[in-house]
């Protein structure tokens, strides 16, 4: 019994220490003196590797999800003679929910896992230690540009996802199933609001970007520098980030639309 209490205590202390270390890492990475001359090229390089290289999976997934929404929406709406509402249905689903959430999940799987593995390998091969010994703060040189790249990239990727998804819905609904072209766009335009729908989606995306990138970087930075340690950290990034995104999505949806 006493052992179980001790084990519970250890788990709790480890969790608090882990959260403290993650917060400490984030603070030091983000609130140092900015050096634009050095930071800008690093940020661009990371935006390319985190953002641009994620484009393909985002575009392909967005297209298919939009097409599925168009098909499913049409089969339901046509029963009520409301197929002209297909446009807003597809657009609102994507802008409010699926765009930010699915992008965050895909981002965690593609870019998040890559970030964790990269930082973990840098740790295992002593590259982070060598930076420290050179008098270069790895949090500023390695963590900070990756964090900002993830933070800026994900909302843009989510918007791309939603735009491509809407086009996918249009392809299926209008070009294949024969919904009126003008009605599809005009009803969508009159039902989608800038602040309530688009802006809230972007805010969600920013929150997810913050959390997913933070988790990915922290897991890499704190991982055990062995092959097993890196593998566990990478898996943990995807699992933790995905659960965090889904949980936060409910909270944010309740706050925004509840």
């Amino acid at each position: 019994m006493l052992n179980r209490v001790a084990a519970l205590g250890k788990v709790t202390l480890d969790a608090i220490a882990g959260a403290g270390a993650a917060l400490f890492m984030l603070m030091r990475a983000l609130f140092g003196k900015p050096q634009l001359r050095k930071s800008w090229p690093l940020l661009m390089q990371q935006m390319y590797s985190v953002g641009v290289l994620s484009l393909l999976i985002i575009v392909v997934s967005g297209l298919f999800i939009g097409m599925v929404l168009g098909l499913q929406g049409y089969t339901i709406l046509v029963d009520f003679g409301a197929e002209q509402s297909l446009g807003p249905m597809v657009a609102l689903s994507l802008l409010r929910e699926l765009g930010p959430v699915v992008t965050a999940l895909l981002f965690a799987g593609r870019a998040g896992s890559a970030l964790t593995a990269e930082i973990g390998l840098m740790k295992a091969t002593e590259q982070l230690s060598s930076l420290e010994m050179m008098g270069v703060d790895p949090l500023r040189r390695v963590i900070s540009p990756r964090f900002w790249a993830g933070f800026y990239s994900m909302p843009i990727l989510a918007l791309v996802f939603s735009a491509v998804g809407i086009y996918g819905g249009y392809l299926v609904g209008v070009r294949w199933l024969g919904v009126d072209d003008g009605a599809f766009w005009s009803v969508m335009q009159s039902n989608v609001e800038w602040g309530q729908d688009i802006l809230n989606g972007v805010i969600k995306s920013l929150v997810f970007a913050f959390v997913v990138t933070w988790i990915a970087l922290h897991k890499g930075y704190q991982c055990t520098p062995t092959s097993v340690g890196i593998s566990r950290a990478t898996t943990s990034t995807v699992v933790t980030a995905s659960l965090a995104v889904l949980g936060l999505d409910f909270v944010l949806t309740a706050l925004m639309f509840g």
Binding site: K38, T125, E126, Q127, S129, S130, E132, M133, M134, G135, V136, D137, R141
Partner: protein, 278 residues
């Protein structure tokens, strides 16, 4: 502990005093009451059996780890009492050659060596280019400057890392097992480089190793660590003449002696027959 007087120790660049260090909140004590003086401008070898914590010592000197007690001074500064900014400033005056080389895998050899210069100096690229070529020439890798670290052999990677380590002309270089895993030719090259660079650049070097034969040929002073502390120190000649059984065992690579062949365990009889066999 064997005390060997040596006047060179009076002018020490690194002074370690009564150091106590344990990993993971005291679960495993690494050092107890460790004291050392590293003479300025000399090559100091730190030797000891595997697992004694030699690499840990280098990380303590670089303030990547913090001791529970005791102090380490580098050029008169207590490295563990500096704030973060001052510590990073101080680290520009020291350098470490990691066992793995620790080259940045996404940069060419040239960019790896230019990296500390670009980070810490405002020098124009033409001057950085000249310095990088000179450092590469010093380690014999000027022709390999456009290669990626993955294209280098183990020995070449270590030489490239050495060129990077001397890029900022540090006062102190910490070598972590520089000879480990090297073929005889690479090993000879690295021995020669450590000796020559130390003399030509006026460096102070700390070489952590258990390759006795190699390091004894270039070291000016040697510390032998065992059982969480210094068990002997002196010049290579003084240590070779030592009659201390532990130093003798270590220098001659004897399997059994004061450092036992067997890891601490219950008696074989108890283990095989069970503790209640009597």
């Amino acid at each position: 502990m064997r005390q060997v007087e040596n006047s060179a120790l009076d002018d020490a660049l690194v002074v370690i005093d009564n150091l106590h260090f344990a990993h993971s909140f005291g679960a495993h004590q690494v050092y107890r009451n460790l004291s050392m003086r590293v003479p300025r401008g000399k090559i100091t070898a730190v030797m000891g059996p595997s697992g004694i914590g030699k690499t840990t010592l280098l990380r303590l000197i670089g303030a990547q780890l913090y001791p529970q007690q005791g102090s380490i001074e580098f050029a008169g500064h207590n490295v563990h009492q500096l704030n973060r900014r001052d510590l990073y400033e101080l680290r520009k005056r020291m350098s470490m050659l990691f066992q793995s080389g620790a080259l940045f895998t996404d940069m060419t050899v040239y960019d790896n060596i230019a990296f500390p210069l670009r980070e810490h100096s405002q020098l124009p690229e033409e001057i950085i280019d000249t310095i990088v070529k000179m450092k590469l020439e010093a380690v014999g890798l000027r022709g390999a400057r456009d290669l990626m670290p993955a294209e280098l052999s183990g020995g070449m990677a270590r030489r490239a890392a050495l060129a990077r380590a001397i890029a900022l002309d540090p006062e102190l270089i910490l070598y972590d097992e520089p000879f480990a895993g090297q073929d005889p030719i690479s090993m000879g090259v690295i021995v020669k480089l450590i000796k020559e660079l130390n003399a030509s650049l006026g460096l102070t070097s700390i070489v952590v190793t258990h390759d006795i034969a190699e390091v004894m040929t270039i070291a000016d002073y040697v510390y032998i660590l065992a059982d969480k502390q210094v068990v002997g120190h002196g010049t290579p000649a003084q240590l070779k003449q030592s009659d201390d059984p532990l130093i003798h065992q270590f220098l001659h690579g004897e399997a059994d002696g004061p450092v036992p062949f067997h890891y601490a365990a219950a008696s074989l009889e108890d283990d095989l027959l069970g503790s209640d066999h009597a």
